[in-house]
Each structure stands twice: as C-alpha cells, then as structure tokens.
Amino acid sequence: MSDRKLLEITHMSKRFDELEVIKDISLSVKEGEVLSIIGPSGSGKSTLLRCATMLEKMDSGTLTYLGENAAWDENGKCVYAGKKELKHISKYFGLVFQNFNLFPHYSVLKNVMDAPVKVDKVSKKEAKERAMALLEQLGIADKADAYPQQLSGGQQQRVSIARALALQPKILFFDEPTSALDPELTGEVLKVIKQLAREHMTMIIVTHEMQFARELSDRIIFMENGVIQAEGSPEEIFATDNERVQGFIGKFQK
C-alpha cells in the first residue's frame, strides 16, 4: 500500500426528496488499499458507492480521483467537472453490480472486450487477448463463447468483474457482489476478489459477508443512517465496544 490517495471524498451529502441518505461523509482510499463498507440495509452504503461512481449526483461535497476533481462545492452548491474531464476521471474506476448487469445479447468474450474497443479504442486483437487473459485468470475462459444466461450466477459475476478489469481501472467498486448468489456460488466470487486483493488491486467493497470483510480488508467502515459510525482495521471493528457495531456484527456471527 502506498500513501498516494486514489480516491478522496469530503463532506458528501445526498438526499432523495426529504430523506437524507448520506450526511456529510468524508473518506479516502490509498493505492492498494481494500476498504469494506458494512452496515444495515438503508444505511446509505450503496448510495455512497453510486455517488462515488457518479451514477448519482451528490448534493454537496467534493469527489476527487488521483488529485483530479470530479465535483466540488461552489457557493453552497455542488458542481461537477466538464464532460471531458469526467470522462477522463471515469476511467480511473470500475464498478461491479449486485445483479451483474451483463449485456445479454453479447457473448461472454464480447461483454469483456467491447468497452475497451468502443470506449478506449483498443484494437480488437489486443482487446481480445486482454479479455481472454482475464477470463483465464478468473477461471471462466471455457465460457468465452457462451451467453450470460447460460452461466451460473457465480460465473456471471466473475464475467462482470472481468468486464470491469478489462478497462484497467485504478480502483474497483463492488456493490454487494454476492448478495444475488446462493452460498455455494458466493465462495467462487469471494475467491476471485481475494485473488485481486493479493495482486494489490485497490477496492471498495460494500458487503454483508462479515467473515470475508474481516479476512480481506485493510480497513472497515460501519455505516448507519447515512453516517460513518465506526471505522478501523478489521481487528478494531470486530473488537469494538460500540454497541451498534457489536449488535450488527453479532447477528452475522451466530
């Protein structure tokens, strides 16, 4: 882990009408760091991720990737950088969705190589090589010609991880990557994420897999009601005397 900050969020707030989902959250992630975000449903974890990946616009705060500002406050209002800058900044991160969102009309291979070709203008040959190497690495090279619907959920999620990695992001977000999977398939996806962690991929993972978060993370954030209730190393979080955190983790450890 280096000291370079890949992502920095300060004073992020987001409301949906009357409901304040994220209240003045600040956090940063260093290169090579694995950060897990845990907390009850409705605590704002996914919204935080969606704001960080610019699928939602935050109401106030700053969002910075590698020192480049994507959004900042100006006269009490949040302004986003221009289209061109945002496009550039978007290349720094990838996102893996809970329900994969693979393109059903594309084969596995095309799902992985299409964005590099269309977005980054990589040659087809190179994109294909890169895609095959990733599929190989994630253990699904034999499914390259299959269509997503022919795959198990675990395989689909691995394809979607490969698709995100194909664009060579600096930081990868996971939005409850195993929540749509049964326990048997969860394992194969977690294994892949662990493998990425060993290769020092910078990751932010929203998860309900407590044991996994504990083993894998450099740091864990516990969110509730739109704020960070507790933050620390896995050891600190799992040994906390914060009642809410204890109660939440306790439910998973029976």
């Binding site: 009309h105 299409d114 980054d120 269509y147 619907q149």
Partner: protein
C-alpha cells in the same frame, strides 16, 4: 371471366397493395422510433406534442386520415389535387398512422430494458449514442418483435382502406370485378391473397424472432 383471369387481374393489382405495404413499413418504422424518442423526451412540450399526435392517430379512423391527407391540400391551401398525389397521400397517411402505433410499441420496449443496462454502459464509459444503438436497441428489437408482427399483419389488411380515396390497390379491383359479375368470388380470391401473404409475413417474422432466441 375465368378464375385464372381473375387471379391474374387481382395479382397485378396486388403489386399496388405490396407497394403500399413496403413503403409504409420503410417510413413508419424509423419514424416510429423518432416519435418514441419525442414521447419519452424530458422536454415537456415535445413529449406533450407527440402524445397528442399519437392520440389523434390512434383515436380517429385511418380511412378518415386518408381523406384528410388527400383533400387537405385543397381545403387548406386551395391546391389542385392531381391524380399522382393519390399514391403519395396513401403512403403519407399510412406512414404517419403506423408510426404512432410503432412509437408506442418501441417506447414500451425501450422502457422495459432494466435500468442496470444503462448504468453498466455508463460506468463502462459508453456514450449515449453507443449505449442506445449497441446495448438498448438490439434488446428492444427482440422484445418488440411479437407486437410489431401483429401491426405488420394488420397493415397488410389495412392497405385495403386505400380504396377510400379510390387508389387502385387489390381490394378496389376485387370490388369492381365483384360488382361487374354480381358475384363475391373476386372478394373471396382477394381474401386468399391477403391470407397467403400474411402467412409469409408471419413466417418471416418467426424466422427473425428465432434468430434472436440465442439470448433472453
């Protein structure tokens, strides 16, 4: 008149029917897509205007629309109506009418694509055009094929409405023969023409559907 003569006369007139059918599809499908964009637009006046357009097209008889398009230039601009305008009027009326139906079919198809598809494309860096034409459109086409087949088959039969402005397509010819012979035979034969052609349309559409069945 022998049956063979009748069939050959109707066959010649059927070419006109085919022309209406093909040109209407050619114009109304793309127009329908554009209208569906207007209908889904965030710009309220545009969305409101297309809603009104669709509602008028669906809410009034196609036969009346044919008459309006055909005689409109005379009543509004005092222009003399030429006989060559007859065919143009038929194509215009059919195209704008069918575009309204297709627009609603396309809209339902586009809106049925999960929002996750848009989000995945956005995070991967596809621009809006790429997202629509490479990700959304192909999936939309697959979903709307059954209702589009329905409309297409209806169109084959609707071409007979062109007789309202005395355009010489097959049905008009069949009625003339039937009147001259005091027999409904020609109309029955015309019915067979429509039926057989629709079998062909259904078969072609079935093939297209099948070619897209490799994914869900």
């Amino acid at each position: 008149m022998s049956l063979l003569t009748m069939v050959s006369q109707l066959g010649v007139a059927f070419v006109e029917t085919l022309k209406i059918f093909c040109l209407t599809l050619l114009f109304s499908l793309p127009l329908g897509l554009i209208v569906s964009f207007g209908r889904m637009s965030k710009c309220a006046p545009l969305s409101w205007l297309t809603k009104l357009y669709i509602s008028v097209m669906r809410g009034t008889p196609l036969m009346l629309q044919l008459i309006v398009v055909y005689f409109g230039p005379y009543y509004v601009f005092g222009q003399k109506i030429t006989s060559s305008y007859r065919f143009t009027a038929v194509i215009i009326a059919f195209s704008i009418n069918y575009a309204a139906y297709f627009a609603e079919i396309f809209r339902s198809g586009i809106e049925s694509i999960p929002v996750g598809q848009h989000e995945a494309a956005k995070v991967l860096g596809y621009n809006k055009l790429q997202t629509f034409f490479h990700i959304i459109f192909p999936q939309m086409v697959k979903r709307v094929l059954p209702p589009v087949t329905n409309e297409t088959i209806t169109l084959v039969k609707d071409t007979s409405l062109a007789f309202a402005i005395a355009y010489a397509e097959m049905f008009k010819k069949a009625k003339e023969i039937a009147a001259a012979q005091s027999s409904v035979m020609a109309l029955m034969v015309a019915g067979v023409f429509y039926y057989v052609f629709n079998l062909l349309v259904a078969w072609v559409m079935g093939r297209i559907e099948k070619s897209m069945s490799y994914y869900k």
